[in-house]
């Protein structure tokens, strides 16, 4: 899982990954989310007058583990009275796996 941040085009280096598509004033997509920017892309955006980009901000393994544990504890807090109930088992395990999957 990665965070994103809005940053000036001038502070963006080649290799940075877009977290959101870049659109022009009419809403047309110029570059899609997930694209690793090259120098040529950056030049092209500069020529089109784009000033800011939403880019992927990588986080380290330690921070990821901390967030994962926080989320797990939150789910267990919500299930604090029902975690052992037979009727809750499917949902509890599905939500834990679902959140785990979102962290990857």
């Amino acid at each position: 899982m990665n965070d994103s941040q809005l940053q000036p085009l001038d502070a963006t280096l080649p290799g940075t990954v877009l977290a959101a598509p870049v659109t022009d004033a009419n809403g047309a997509v110029l570059l899609p989310a997930g694209l690793a920017l090259t120098e040529a892309h950056l030049d092209s955006l500069r020529r089109r007058g784009i000033e800011n980009l939403t880019v992927v901000l990588a986080i380290d393994a330690e921070e990821l583990a901390r967030r994962r544990e926080k989320l797990r504890l939150r789910i267990m807090h919500l299930f604090r009275h029902t975690a052992e109930d037979p009727g809750s088992q499917a949902l509890l395990h599905a939500i834990l796996a679902f959140r785990e999957g979102q962290m990857k």
Partner: protein, 279 residues
Amino acid sequence: MTPPSLSEMIGRIHGLPVMPAVALEVLDSMAGADTDIKDLARRITQDQAIAARVLRVANSPLYGLQMRVASIHDAIVVLGFSAVRSLVLAAAIVTSLPAGRCPGFNQERFWRHVLGTAVAAQALAKPLKRSPEPLFIAGLLHDIGRLVMVALYPEHYTRVLDQVGEQDCCLRDAEQTVFGFDHAAVGAALAGRWNFPADIVDALAWHHEPERGTPDGMAAVIHYADAISQALDLDGAENGQMPRLHQKTIDGLGLDWQKLTEVLADTEARFNSYQLMLG
């Protein structure tokens, strides 16, 4: 401070703000009444507060539209009448039913939970091969009894909230202790009084005890949708807690792991758009 009886409480509902006429007409049209779609669309458009909230959601990434829709008429053309009237009903209910003043009651969290339950019910419709619209409405209204209790008897409801805080019990148990009945009973009585369709009344009455509802009715689905909204933490209430789930009912829905996971993802995606309505 003697608590009111259920009939006393229901007798006072005339003191509550009424639902906008548009919302009642939308409900009628859902119940199969003969409705002039063009005329209804025109009237929805006249209620700017509702129309603006509907358009905010219609233009969200959920629907993936290539162009912005700028009017209710366009939204109906692009998304279909059924999708738009669900949005209209949600917007009408959210804008028109204030909770009044009750210390400790967080109205925004209430609506987040309600919208979460409504979209979870919608998401469950697909794997359960049910019609999404009635489930969405039942989800939207499932806790309406709570809003009535809060609005008409804020002092009593503060005691309910205090008890939840002190004992970490569920809201429903505290309602039973303070009032002698819970929000499900109030919601069902209110829905009956407002002549809501019988299947909605049944879902409101039995969403916490689905084994007592009409077999194959909506109570079982709302029972699970309520829990899914809570498990996804959509209201973000610090001391939120899962409702107890009735095992036979959950097993009876027959959702395997993959389908349940898809429902969770679908619910969250829908909620991210629908919550724009609350802004």
